[in-house]
């Protein structure tokens, strides 16, 4: 049975890719903002400079909206393994399941348990306990990223297991499972990616408000903080990305061949293909623009290193090349644009024109969404490059599927598409609206104004006002 001409397997893959892409957009931002608001709150407590409290309040609301969307889209993910990938769950559940359950026990409860206090509880618990709550939320998001990337990395570089007669993966050594070969790289690279995503989003908001009002102190602070992150973290990210690639070359060489667009094996020095169109059927990359031997230099750190091409693997064990090839270039390209922005900001800072250079502000404004694009591009490289396996080398995607029919998967896919675009589309619109508010509330923050009891004014409902409707208008 098919649905719109597609088999259940293809539909389930599209559904997974669609829902996880939407989901990850929110963690990519909330992991970073959670830490950012924690830092803002800490600086406020330390320096008692109200500018930082205002910034905390400003970003806190944005964080709360992002977080809510991350939570609901995440719950869909954790059930999707059962609904669409039940054969995967049956077989790999004993390994992947405990990792994800540890994520629930150590991270999700922590985030959720302290979120209420972090958002609404400052007055009730006092500054210190409130700071602890804010920190707990931030730490929770990082713990979460650690477990889930461990689970995901195990699917790329499985270790520490045996396989029983039913095809079930039996855990043998949990240390090897958790710290599987690609985990350290993937975890670091993903968390840094979340920080960079946030840095560029924050920088973009700061730049927007600087373009409108150069003197706005809060806008200056957020812009400056974001540019420090960009300048410091981007080089580290590129370095880690390189290590990540070397690890992939060792464990998943077919993925590297796909990313590089190499079909033939180069025994004495592979070129670096800058652009081109890989064609799986014809087993060649059309219109390739290449730099001789540079590919080997990057991957093997020697000019004549041997690099395997996709033809080394039987056709049914190769990943499709086009998607990883393109997405990898998108990610790396953005990485270098980020580096450029960071360096430019250092230059402007040194020249003492950080808050005056309009072109820098415009560039930072445009770079706002770059992190989200890079992060998705990176995941598409990784995940499509793992095909045709779900557990690399051991369990095929085709054998991971639930016994569900194409119309069922197709109908649910359409439902998700409609609902996600409506709900998360609106959510993103609200986020942009929140970011458009100037970070300078005229009235003051929640500590000066107790709960409003002004006669005759019902607490206004909407959040058009910077610090929330309950202060009245």
């Amino acid at each position: 049975m098919t649905f719109l001409g597609l088999e259940a397997e293809m539909l389930a893959r599209i559904q997974f890719a669609f829902t996880v892409s939407f989901h990850f957009i929110f963690p990519a931002f909330s992991i970073g903002t959670a830490s950012y608001v924690a830092v803002l709150n800490a600086i406020w407590l330390w320096k008692r400079d109200p500018a930082y409290l205002k910034l905390f309040e400003y970003w806190k609301t944005i964080f709360a909206v992002t977080f809510a969307m991350g939570v609901v889209s995440g719950i869909v993910m954790s059930y999707q393994f059962g609904t669409n990938w039940s054969a995967f769950s049956d077989k790999a559940g004993p390994v992947v399941g405990p990792l994800m359950s540890y994520e629930v026990l150590t991270a999700f409860f922590l985030e959720a348990g302290f979120l209420g206090i972090a958002l609404f509880g400052r007055k009730r618990v006092g500054d210190t306990a409130h700071m602890v709550a804010v920190a707990m939320v931030a730490i929770g998001t990082l713990i979460s990223a650690t477990w889930i990337t461990s689970a995901n990395s195990w699917m790329h570089t499985p270790a520490g297991f045996s396989i029983d007669p039913n095809g079930v993966f039996v855990p043998e050594d949990w240390w090897q499972i958790v710290f599987n070969p690609s985990f350290p790289y993937r975890m670091t690279h993903t968390v840094l990616a979340a920080f960079l995503t946030t840095a560029f989003a924050v920088g973009s908001v700061g730049a927007w408000h600087l373009l409108k009002d150069r003197e706005n102190r809060q806008a200056r602070i957020m812009f400056s903080m974001a540019m420090w992150m960009a300048a410091i973290v981007t080089p580290i990210q590129i370095f880690v990305g390189d290590l990540h690639g070397l690890s992939t070359l060792e464990h998943q060489p077919a993925k590297i061949a796909a990313m590089e667009g190499h079909f033939d094996t180069y025994e004495d020095g592979a070129p670096l293909i800058l652009f081109g169109i890989p064609d799986d059927a014809a087993e060649t990359t059309h219109y390739a623009v290449e730099v001789p031997k540079l590919g080997s230099m990057i991957l093997k750190h020697e000019w004549d290193g041997e690099i395997k091409g996709l033809k080394e693997w039987p056709r049914d064990q190769r990943p499709p090349a086009l998607m990883p090839f393109i997405t990898f270039r998108v990610m790396v390209g953005i990485g270098f644009l980020m580096l450029g922005t960071g360096l430019w900001s250092l230059w402007a800072r040194w020249k003492r024109t950080l808050y005056e250079t309009r072109w820098l502000h415009r560039a930072a404004l445009i770079m706002g969404p770059s992190g989200f694009v890079a992060v998705l591009a990176g995941w598409y490289t990784t995940e499509v490059g793992r095909q045709p396996w779900t557990v690399y080398g051991h369990l095929r995607t085709a054998d991971s599927l639930s016994p569900v029919s194409a119309p069922a998967v197709g109908a649910s896919l359409l439902t998700f598409i409609v609902v996600y675009f409506i709900v998360f589309g609106t959510g993103v619109y609200y986020l942009l609206k929140l970011m458009r508010r100037p970070p300078t509330p005229l009235e003051d923050h929640e500590l000066d104004l107790g709960p409003i009891r002004t006669a005759g004014i019902t607490p206004g409902p909407s959040q058009d006002h910077p610090l929330g409707g309950h202060h009245g208008h």
């Binding site: 909206v65 809510a68 939570v71 609901v72 719950i75 869909v76 954790s78 059930y79 393994f81 059962g82 609904t83 039940s86 054969a87 769950s89 049956d90 559940g93 004993p94 992947v96 399941g97 405990p98 994800m100 359950s101 994520e103 629930v104 026990l105 999700f108 409860f109 959720a112 348990g113 302290f114 979120l115 209420g116 206090i117 958002l119 609404f120 509880g121 029983d164 079930v168 039996v170 855990p171 949990w174 639930s402 016994p403 569900v404 069922a408 439902t415 609902v419 709900v423 959510g427 609200y430 709960p451 409003i452 019902t458 607490p459 409902p461 909407s462 959040q463 058009d464 409707g469 309950h470």
Partner: protein, 334 residues
């Protein structure tokens, strides 16, 4: 050793599911009774009673699902495809009601739309959870470690009945929670609403309980055969006690008692289910032992659960304590 671990885990998963049902139950219940409270301001107060805790409540659902995959992967792999449609509809509904908490504060013009989303999301999620439960009680067709039934097997008169029962039950939890957390008009109206809901729920529990033993001979044996009948008869007795406490609390203007009694009804119904199911995970098809993951998985996660669940309960309790007492309608959380 193997056997014991899987039974301990069955207990933990059951606890997570129960915790989810009672905690998110009152959250969803507040959404379900939204139509009875038309004023914007009332709805603000109602959502504010749960705003600080709903996310934590829902996390028990993630533990129930994720935990099932970890320690009973076979049960997870069979049950979820079997309940495909109800699960997807529940997830989509939970999206609507989850984002409504934040979204309704972000707009003037569309806030009633998100209130509608909050209502429909809460209601459909509740019905789907009830339907999923009913379908599981009725049994699932399995062959060769996989679900082998059809796409619509879950939809039966019995599962619709359990769907309605859960909807009513959550509504009752919601209004008794409001009765506890609010004052003035909202409280008075909640208490008033609680009475018909209580009667309805008790009637539904009665019908479901009488129907269940006839679905499957094993349930009948469990409830009416000797000597199990001696022990299982405690459940209806305690249920009657809770029903009395609920009614007494409502008619004597008690604030905490009706909520606790309503929780009691849920706990006992859940225990009743346990009596019917034991020792199966999927009635008649898959036992707890057969569904269990390899021992190394059970052990690895149990170490963490033993340490972490008490800690989680402690800080969750702390969060509830911080926001304890009647809500001040003027203290906006947003």
């Amino acid at each position: 050793m193997d056997i014991e671990l899987s039974f301990i885990w069955a207990g933990i998963i059951a606890f997570a599911v129960l915790a989810y049902v009672v905690l998110d139950g009152f959250d969803l219940g507040i959404g379900i009774v939204f139509p009875f409270f038309r004023h914007r301001r009332d709805r603000d107060v109602m959502t504010n009673t749960i705003a600080p805790v709903w996310d934590g409540n829902e996390t028990w659902l993630v533990l129930g699902g994720g935990g099932l995959m970890a320690v009973f992967p076979l049960a997870y792999a069979i049950i979820l495809p079997a309940l495909y449609m109800p699960i997807i509809l529940m997830l989509v509904s939970l999206i609507f009601r989850g984002v409504a908490f934040e979204f309704r504060w972000r707009t003037h013009h569309e806030s009633h739309l998100w209130d509608f989303g909050f209502w429909i999301g809460s209601s459909v999620a509740a019905v789907m959870q009830g339907i999923a439960l009913g379908a599981l009680v009725q049994g699932i067709t399995v062959s060769n470690r996989q679900y082998a039934g059809g796409w619509w097997d879950w939809l039966t008169p019995f599962s619709i009945l359990t769907g309605i029962a859960v909807l009513v039950g959550y509504a009752l939890l919601g209004v008794t929670w409001l009765n506890l957390k609010t004052s003035g008009d909202i409280q008075a109206r909640s208490a008033k609403l609680a009475r018909p809901l209580s009667l309805l729920l008790l009637a539904l529990i009665g019908i479901v309980s009488l129907w269940t033993p006839f679905i499957n001979g094993r349930y009948f044996e469990r409830w009416f055969g000797w000597p199990t009948a001696f022990f299982s008869s405690f459940v209806p007795l305690l249920l009657a006690l809770c029903a009395f406490a609920l009614w007494h609390g409502l008619t004597h203007d008690k604030h905490l008692q009706p909520f606790l009694a309503a929780l009691g009804l849920f706990v006992l119904s859940f225990v009743g289910l346990g009596v019917s199911f034991y020792p199966y995970m999927i009635p008649g098809v898959l036992t707890i032992k057969d569904a269990a993951a390899p021992e190394s998985s059970l052990k690895f996660l149990l170490v963490g659960a033993a340490v972490l669940v008490p800690i989680i309960l402690a800080y969750t309790g702390y969060a509830y304590w911080v926001f304890r007492g009647k809500i001040d309608p003027d203290e906006g959380y947003h």
